[in-house]
Symmetry: C2
Subunit: 201 residues, 2 copies
Amino acid sequence: MSSNAASARSGRRSGTSTAQADILAAARELFAAGGFDKTTLRAVADHAGVDVALISYYFTNKRGLFLAAMELPIDPGTRVAAAAAGPRASLGRRLTETFLEIWDDPVTGTAMQGFLRSAVSDEATATSFGEFASEAMLPLVVAETGLHADTARVLSSMLFGIATMRYLLKMPMFTAPSTRELIALYAPRVQAVIDADDGPG
Amino acid sequence: MSSNAASARSGRRSGTSTAQADILAAARELFAAGGFDKTTLRAVADHAGVDVALISYYFTNKRGLFLAAMELPIDPGTRVAAAAAGPRASLGRRLTETFLEIWDDPVTGTAMQGFLRSAVSDEATATSFGEFASEAMLPLVVAETGLHADTARVLSSMLFGIATMRYLLKMPMFTAPSTRELIALYAPRVQAVIDADDGPG
């Protein structure tokens, strides 16, 4: 880090933190202009004036780059993978808990709520996020849980409906319950949708 | 109508359409300031300078007044009541169809989407709508369907999640399917949540 500081002081653009910032700025611009789907790592690298390998080095893949560019403090993929492990009969509870823990946490929850607000008010953010959810998150959830894509899609709206009603619209019937009460309310009903799934289990 | 037109031309405030407009203006102001719950019909009548009986005459009750004030073109209560009638085994399909027909219809859908956008961006609208949903809509759905309040609450977020993802965020995985495809996707899964309900039925 001291060499980066030295680079910054000497005004060079090639320091690690500068390259990272350049990549993130380029990614934000291209995701906003073209969405998640059409934006390639190569285009981001060209725009940032760095080698494409540097993007993989810092952000692993396009999913990681997107999360960093949107300043999302968590990788939903990692969280879902953790929730997927365990008995199928309690998958509903683990998915519900994971979702509500992320959204009710003071740090990650505030970030997610802020992100949801900007996605709702800004079409470019909405498009990028929508494509990210469809192209990167849904297939991951399906792969990790073994659920049908159709079932995963319904579960995503079921849980996302909580986010809208609890944090965006602040409806009393969704703000009054505690995290624990919401988990008790949703876990068996999310499980009912999972149990109705005729997918690989 | 010709006598109202005459009243308007003569500058009198007591014509029918003027009284209705005065009531709606007063209702919008008081709902925005105090929310749905605390706003009484008497307060609206006082604010509009009309007799409270006139509100009942024009808008039936507070629910009707709220819907008119928010310029919502439908009464969800009437629609849910219609969907509730019929065999329990297909209630999931009827509720899903009713919801998607309202939201995908060129007239009612456009109005609902516009309303959702303003509720998300304007806290006063969100508060009134949230209280309306909790105090007026949920109990009605419970009474009409015989579902547990908990189940009705989960179903509301399940369907509302579609509204958020299809119309607000325009996520490809929710905008690509037709109304018919979404009904086929949701109906059996809404039914699974209903079947898991241990309520009266």
